[in-house]
């Protein structure tokens, strides 16, 4: 066989293996007929031992109207329900089903009402397909949206909607179409493209395994057909190559290989690879699979990679192809968290972040919002509690090449582990890196800060005006800039409200968002100062710690903190933007001075009385700028 033919054969076999096992999550409650649907599929595909089938013929429980002797399908999967009655933990159960095509289906069944989000997230994390039950009789309910939201979040992009209990609504097409349309619309909003709706009666078996005579208007195939016809998405085979190194394999004859499972993409002997952590490059010398050396390997295979030279690789490192798709290390990330710990999220506490075989300490620096899983709304939140889902920012102690979850679940999904109890407290889905740590080496330019100072004839400066809303910061800034400008000073004003319409429009007014707002404005001011400008910042910036952090990035003498001191009563009286009125009506819970505290500077570089004449304040300030 030629090398190319052998390579193709290897990749084809691995791709067959990916398609051979389908992981499915079943969403719905017993009330929707989920147990009956799964039970019927298991029984009719011969996936249940006959003694268990006999049990389901003879046992009757809780108001079942099925005559003894006939199979009560719901009993085939009820092990967990029985446990719930006994007070044993409700948990995800895994069951196997063999399709007539030979495909194996691993069904993750997430029961229970409490802890539902957590269990759903676990079950969906590895799922290729979600089968979502809708009760035709009762219509779309909040939990339908909850299921869709969690599926979308966890990356399940193929959804089979089983509109069940069609028998109860007389197999009516119009109702089915209406429900199917509702689910499709909701799924589309969440970015789920593949939705197949099937009218079903789990009780009578219509459209579960075979077709249905009672619904001649439907010819789209049964639930089982959908599972048979499923094909793995291209992303799992053709994605960027990722090999998280589980262990270093050493053997006689100088054998030194890197063992792990290819979680995305493919690799061939001779390919240039890079250790994403260090940027060190090498070529693939050998690919050892469980069946010996092969010319290529692809997603899903457990392999050992040998490189053409000695490189420093340890457990947890990530091997990528040396191309534009390689992962880049970073140490600050934006991520969605599914909080599963009993203790709520703690700001500033050091957790252990696990991603594949890698472990690194990490700290949550900010909570952006909490997701309302039913409405999809983003609610303001400071913490996340058990079963909450929310967007956070986190910082790792050292840079790691974390992918975006969308790119690869295994290198973009992570766990947060409590250092003391060793419990898993959250599952995280990386959204994007906020600061690339590596490959970003500051470049020294020939025209530098000093040459710009010489050209402009004055030193750059950042004048940071802090004070209540309505204190007069913008007004003073405006007048000061006018004075400085007329004297040939190059200026710019960074106004809080203006910045929030663009750069910071994703931020709200929680303490965490305010901290990020200040951080970004300070960084922009630093760039402008570096360009040689005198920057006037007009920003409420109510917290001392945020202002201190802003000052810390500037050189000594470059940052000037100015307190525009106006009594709250005066500011409320002025109320130029009508914000105090809204706050009084209870519409602005985070209003500084009302719902949140303002922490005045303990020692401002310049103090301005906010009730004084504007011209007087502006004169005092421009004088201070020019003098220094």
């Amino acid at each position: 066989m030629t090398a190319v033919a052998e390579e193709l054969q290897v990749l084809e076999r691995a791709s067959d293996a990916r398609a051979a096992v389908l992981r499915m999550v079943a969403c719905g409650s017993v009330d929707d007929g989920k147990s009956t649907l799964i039970g019927r599929m298991l029984a009719e595909t011969d996936s249940v031992p006959i003694d268990q089938l006999e049990y389901a013929r003879q046992t009757r429980r809780g108001g079942s109207t099925i005559p003894v002797g006939e199979v009560d399908y719901s009993l085939l999967t009820d092990g967990l329900e029985a446990e719930r009655e006994q007070g044993i933990t409700i948990d995800v159960a895994y069951r196997h089903m063999d399709l007539p095509s030979g495909r194996r289906v691993i069904i993750a069944d997430a029961p229970g009402h409490e802890q539902y989000t957590r269990n759903m997230a676990v079950a969906a994390s590895t799922a290729d397909v979600a089968v979502l039950l809708v009760d035709a009789h009762r219509g779309l309910r909040p939990q339908t949206y909850r299921h869709l939201t969690v599926c979308a979040l966890m990356g399940v992009t193929s959804i089979v909607v089983a509109v069940n209990k069609m028998d109860l609504i007389g197999y009516e097409q119009a109702t089915f179409e209406e429900l199917a349309g509702g689910v499709r619309a909701a799924a589309a909003r969440l970015g789920i493209e593949e939705v197949q709706a099937i009218p079903v009666s789990a009780m009578s078996g219509a459209n579960v395994i075979g077709g249905s005579e009672v619904m001649p208007w439907y010819d789209g195939g049964s639930v089982l057909d959908a599972l048979v016809n499923w094909q793995p998405t291209e992303a799992t085979g053709d994605g960027p190559f990722r090999l998280p190194v589980q262990m270093i394999s050493r053997s006689s004859g100088n054998f030194r290989g890197y063992s792990g499972t290819v979680v995305s993409g493919s690799v061939r002997v001779g390919d240039p690879v890079v250790v994403a952590d260090s940027g060190v490059k090498a070529k693939v010398d050998r690919i050892v699979t469980p069946d010996g050396d092969r010319p290529a390997a692809t997603s899903g295979q457990a392999i050992t990679l040998l490189l053409d030279r000695e490189v420093d690789v340890t457990r947890g490192d990530l091997l990528c192809l040396d191309d534009s798709d390689q992962a880049q290390p970073a140490d600050r990330f934006s991520a969605d968290l599914v909080w599963i710990g009993e203790e709520p999220l703690a700001h500033g506490r050091s957790y252990l972040l696990y991603v594949g075989p890698r472990v690194v300490p990490a700290t949550i620096t900010a909570v952006r919002h909490r997701l309302d899983v039913v409405s999809g709304r983003h609610d303001a939140a400071r913490v996340l509690e058990m079963n909450d889902i929310g967007r956070v920012e986190l910082a790792t102690d050292s840079p790691i090449p974390l992918d975006e979850y969308e790119v690869c679940r295994d290198t973009g999904g992570f766990l947060l582990v409590d250092r003391v109890t060793s419990d898993t407290v959250a599952a995280g889905l990386s959204q994007h890196a906020m600061r690339r740590a590596f490959n970003v080496t500051p470049h020294d330019y020939a025209v530098d800060r000093d040459s710009r100072i010489r050209l402009k004839g004055h030193r750059p400066k950042v004048v940071w005006l802090t004070g209540l809303s309505g204190a007069g910061k913008s007004t003073v800034a405006d007048a000061t800039v006018a004075m400085l400008h007329s004297q040939g000073v190059h200026t710019y004003v960074l106004d809080g409200d203006n910045v929030r319409t663009g750069l910071n429009r994703d931020l709200g007014f929680t303490p965490e968002d305010r901290a990020e707002n200040v951080r970004r404005v300070a960084e922009v001011a630093k760039l402008m100062a570096d360009a040689g400008l005198v920057v006037i910042v007009a920003l409420v910036s109510p917290y001392r710690s945020d202002r201190r952090a802003a000052r810390s990035i500037f050189e000594e003498g470059e940052f000037m903190e100015v307190f525009v001191d106006t009594p709250l009563a005066v500011a409320q009286e002025r109320d130029p933007k009508g914000l105090y009125k809204k706050a009084a009506a209870g519409n602005l819970p985070n209003m500084t001075g009302v719902g949140q505290d303002y922490e005045p500077p303990e020692r401002a570089d310049v103090y301005l009385d906010g009730t004084a004449e504007v011209a007087e304040s502006a004169g005092k300030l421009s004088q201070a700028v020019i003098e220094e």
Binding site: I340, L352, Y354, V420
Partner: protein
């Protein structure tokens, strides 16, 4: 109408399951200080050994192998164990509850539950403690029994090897939380997602050596409550009028011989065996006498530290 069905080869399913199992083997070997592979000599253990060889090749299996010997195993099992250990160069450890033996504990005198607790559960706990193993790989499968359906791949044990349902960690993706607090240990199950049929198909595909007791041969047996028990040695007390007879029988699961029920069968080789298996659809543990004591017996045994 639905599109034509796309057929999937049995080999492809095994490829996927094998890759997952190897991943779990490697993770356990690398993440824990002192892992051990539990070896029961049965078919699942034989598959585990093969997977371990493949996971670490060309390097040897990087962990010891431990057998919990109740001293009531079939003679053939012990011979097989010692032969395989030699062939594969295994670092074999054997754990036995000698105190219980000295106290006269046998399958006949103490009832199956108490016997299992002392000779298997206690012996396992003591064996793990003796060598300070912090992780033990076992061959449990989710299809074995209904309460196994929710078992984790990495199953946490509290101090004293206690299984606490509330402490079990949710499992996402391929990422496992392998961190242990003081006194905690881990059990890892690489073939969780395999079915009994997968095990047999893999044994055939990989040509794996298994104990001959799985194949049908004429053996001396007595019938007790409809179950064939093999008279493996003279320790089996015969009841009045009971006369061992030769029958062609095989065992579906292997354990202590007085507790293992045989089935009459013509399956003397792997192909016939698999065909026969495909026709019988009775759960595997139905032939194992130790599980017959109430629906939640597995749960309570696990809480005590059983596998």
């Amino acid at each position: 109408m639905a599109e034509p069905q796309l057929s999937v080869r049995e080999d492809s399913v095994l490829d996927a399951l094998e890759a997952e199992a190897i991943h779990i083997f490697r993770e356990t070997a690398a993440a824990f200080q002192n892992p051990v592979l539990l070896y029961s000599i049965g078919k699942d253990s034989s598959v585990l050994l093969q997977l371990a060889v493949k996971a670490f090749a060309p390097a040897p299996i990087p962990m010891p192998v431990m057998h919990i010997d109740t001293t009531w195993k079939f003679k053939e099992m012990i011979e097989f164990r010692d032969r395989r250990a030699k062939e594969l160069g295994l670092d074999l450890r054997i754990a036995t509850n000698h105190d219980a033996i000295a106290d006269g504990v046998t399958p006949f005198t103490h009832g199956t539950h108490e016997y299992t607790r002392l000779m298997k559960t206690v012996a396992l706990r003591e064996g793990l403690d003796k060598y300070g193993f912090d992780a033990a790989i076992g061959g449990a499968r989710r299809d074995e029994e209904r309460s196994r359906a929710k078992e984790r791949i990495f199953s946490l044990r509290e101090p004293g090897h206690r299984w606490d349902a509330r402490k079990q960690r949710p499992e996402f993706w391929r990422t496992a939380n392998t961190r242990l607090s003081e006194g905690q240990t881990m059990r890892a199950f690489p073939i969780s997602n395999w079915t009994e049929m997968d095990v047999w198909n893999y044994i055939r595909r990989e040509n794996i050596d298994i104990v001959d007791l799985y194949y049908s041969r004429p053996r001396p047996v007595v019938n007790r409550d409809g179950v064939w028990i093999m008279v493996d040695d003279d320790r089996l007390p015969l009841q009045e009028g009971e006369e061992p007879q030769m029958r062609s029988v095989r065992f579906r699961t292997l354990g202590c011989y007085p507790l293992s029920g045989a089935v009459e069968s013509e399956a003397a080789d792997i192909d016939t065996l698999i065909t026969e298996m495909g026709q019988s659809k009775i759960s595997e543990r139905a032939g194992r006498l130790i599980d017959g004591e109430g629906g939640s017996s597995m749960e309570s045994k696990k809480a005590e530290g059983y596998f």
